[in-house]
Symmetry: C2
């Protein structure tokens, strides 16, 4: 990007080494989850923490901070230029508050804790992981204190992931969402809805991993991903990592049974990737090249995974591909496949949860994080609290911690405050779907025919192209005239889908 | 590593961010050749050049340079500590002499040139690549001038890859080697040696890539590689990249025919990897953790590829594995396989060359580099000069440049002065073999039985453990009592192998 303002150009030039460190640590993160030999962990930990420190040093370099200050005072900046200054200032302010020792401690703990978490999850041994989680929670509490907050220490961490998000916001969201979802779930289960009947002839048999990998790649082709800017690998916990706007990578997973999990992961991560892939290229190598927020990022993955990917026309579109690649699905009807993709069943695992129960999993994680950071719960109490709340909200109680409190990678990676953005993403995906259907008359017909151009283009124009030029709440206001993360659209979407309109 | 000298400890601490940038760019290099989506090239180029600049800035930071100066003045340092200071000083001196603009220009040109070279090689279109090579050669000449030299500008570049290596050294080496090899080659061809008869029933048919991949992995298991510190991927031009002592990666290649090429590449790169894998762990994350020099590195890969990998006992060892994985080799005798691995045939491609002709390929590249840097040859004259010299030395003339001057990645990557280390590596591998056989009485028997521990351990003790604590000539002197890269051992080894002892 070339600006007409010389100060902005200076900022962008000085930002290049900072961007480059980010590029490198992104690649290192991707590599750690995909291909890195296990025993390289210690040295990778050194490199990762050193580069994060270096990133911080460059970002907080007096000349650079002064330059950003100067940028803030410029008049006549356009939106992208204002966004650049806003993002840098936000980043600088956060980093200034967190002392070097804490950043380094967190980085090292992330590498160590993540390794132990993997082993603990395998052995379902929470005790083994507990001291590491304690350490990480302590670090996060210290970070929250350093960042500062008005009402709740957890607010400080929430804002890291989602600009201006607070406990008050989330208490309000879950206050509406949780009881509504509990009601819907009860009604579905009590009525013996066909959605609640497991299609075990599709979910139980072992699939051919290579064939389902081919199937995922066919679906990505249908969705028009450009494989020269994008790739898909395999990891335990699927994720998306953009190295830059022209190198965006997703991973998927192959457990060997219940093939919809693999397909849904692929479509989900693909949705994330599209946000970066459709960002305006002029924003490349600038502080505003990424998504506006995690919730908006998640709105994209959930839109594609659930609202498109689990819709009837989409299932009808991919049904013939599935029948070709999954031998035991060869005779399945479109309706059976649709119900298989949309089975509602309270279960232990968040990433396998259906659209109805998913946010209840998040509600529990939100409660735990809030209590841990607020000193209302200790780390050793997590498993029991987790299991109790699972029983209360979902009616199922995990029998071992690999199916409970050990299932997610987030805490071991220091991501306290991240989970709530998943629910916000779901809420925004329903807002988007509602607005989009008003604009695109042939929405369903296009999906049934495999023409995703109108949907992709709508998302590009309304959201993707802007990168993080606008803060999330501003984007929601400007583009959709919505104040915050209104849960009503989502409740309506679920009611419509499961009980008909 | 913890030193008893506080200055050395300070140096090692200050070196950590420098090391980390190296770690990151190593990973970026590996990724570029293996998995990176093609259209990420531009941004990867920015990140790579920015990180190289940052590396240089940190290395040349006044405080760090002063610290290294102070380290040099310390008394009572042990060999490892002296090595640390020596390596840093060498690196600093080189970098101080090369201005920032040249480093940046080379880095950008490397990314661009490499991309165009790939396409040019595919189309066998030297003209397409010529302007990029011209640019790179100009940059290298400027770098040579900046570094400085006593006799020949090429000396400055040679020393970058191999401490103290000069045109005078190499003229002497090739002065002995080239005529001897030409004589041996002529004798082999004229006598109708069984080594010169192509075994086309093994070399021509298409193999199953997945099966040969399994075969390569079985061979790596035989050779006792620890897959938790090591991995193998696929790239056009096989290479080894150590991210650190516990994360060493090789690539191999699968062209689909002539399976020995794939096996030999695997063993070759594995030999490189072993150097890093067997370095003393106390040297991890220090400036002396790598190999002493490129020639010594290459001596390891060539020792394993040729002296072990193409020996009769080794071929006998892996023959049953080959028969199981390569369908059309199912009936091949051990002797046929041995001759297949050791066929001598003047050909166009360096990486496919047999042990006899290989160094003639290097002789040509050495001549060209010397002349280009010495302004005795222009870039546009390269293809014809190349082909003429191929005809004179090997008796074959490439008919297109993809089989000629476009075959290697080195020039597009800015590696002028690198090729000669391949020949030096061959010479040292023969020195090693001669010394080792005197120490290890059961050498052949152990290989035939698949017991590589004595060989690995001998290499570890004599060479690997030291990392780059000693300069290459010092190591050769200390360990083998050899002055420089004596070509006589190699000539004797070849004569012995092909004409019997």
């Amino acid at each position: 990007m070339k600006s007409e303002n010389p100060v902005i150009n200076q900022i962008l030039d000085a930002y290049k080494p900072i961007w480059s460190i980010n590029h490198a640590t992104s690649l290192m993160g991707w590599d750690f989850e995909t291909y890195m030999p296990r025993k390289g962990t210690e040295e990778r930990g050194v490199a990762d923490s050193q580069l994060r420190l270096l990133y911080k040093e460059l970002l907080l370099d007096k000349d650079f901070v002064d330059l950003v200050e100067l940028g803030k005072k410029q008049e006549g900046l356009n939106d992208a230029e204002k966004g650049i200054v806003r993002m840098l200032e936000r980043n600088i302010t956060k980093q200034i508050k967190i002392p070097k020792e804490l950043t380094e401690a967190e980085s090292l703990e992330r590498i160590r804790g993540n390794m132990v978490w993997r082993q603990a999850r395998e052995k379902s041994d929470f005790k083994m992981y507990e001291p590491y989680l304690k350490k990480m929670a302590e670090i996060k509490k210290q970070i929250a204190e350093k960042i500062g907050y008005e009402k709740h220490p957890y607010d400080a961490l929430l804002d890291t992931f989602e600009e201006e998000l607070t406990v008050a916001d989330l208490d309000k969201v879950f206050g509406v969402l949780t009881p509504h979802i509990q009601k819907i779930l009860k009604k579905l289960l009590d009525s013996g809805s066909p959605f609640c009947k497991e299609i075990s002839k599709l979910g139980k048999p072992k699939y051919d991993i290579q064939k389902v990998d081919e199937l995922n790649r066919e679906i990505l082709t249908l969705l028009q991903y450009d494989m020269e800017r994008f790739r898909m690998d395999v990891s335990t916990h699927p994720f998306t990592q953009a190295m830059d706007l022209n190198d965006v990578r997703i991973t998927t997973r192959y457990e060997g049974t219940d093939f919809k999990r693999s397909i849904s992961s692929t479509i989900h991560e693909g949705g994330h990737a599209l946000y970066d892939l459709q960002c305006d290229q002029s924003l490349s190598v600038t502080p505003v090249e990424g998504a506006s927020s995690l919730a908006l990022h998640e709105s994209q993955s959930r839109f594609w995974e659930n609202i498109v990917g689990r819709s009837k026309p989409f299932v009808q579109l991919i049904a013939p591909l599935i029948r070709r690649k999954v031998s035991f699905a060869g005779q399945a009807t479109d309706d059976e496949l649709y119900l298989y993709f949309n089975t509602v069943k309270p279960g232990y695992i968040r990433v396998d949860a259906d659209e109805v129960t998913y946010n209840l999993h998040i509600a529990i994680r939100y409660e735990i994080e809030k209590k841990i950071i607020g000193d209302e719960l200790t780390v050793s109490e997590i498993p029991e609290f987790w299991n109790d709340r699972m029983e209360q909200l979902l009616g199922v109680r995990p029998t071992d911690d690999s199916q409970g409190a050990l299932q997610d990678t987030h805490w071991s990676s220091g991501l306290f405050g991240y989970f709530p953005t998943y629910t916000l993403g779901n809420l925004v995906s329903a807002i988007i779907a509602s607005k989009m259907r008003k604009d695109l008359q042939d929405y369903e017909e296009n999906i049934r025919n495999g023409d995703f151009r109108p949907v992709r283009e709508w998302l590009r124009l309304k959201i993707h192209q802007h990168g993080s030029v606008y803060a999330p709440k501003t984007l929601l206001k400007n583009t959709f005239n919505e104040e915050g993360y209104n849960p009503d659209y989502f409740v309506k979407y679920i009611e419509n889908k499961y009980f008909g309109s």
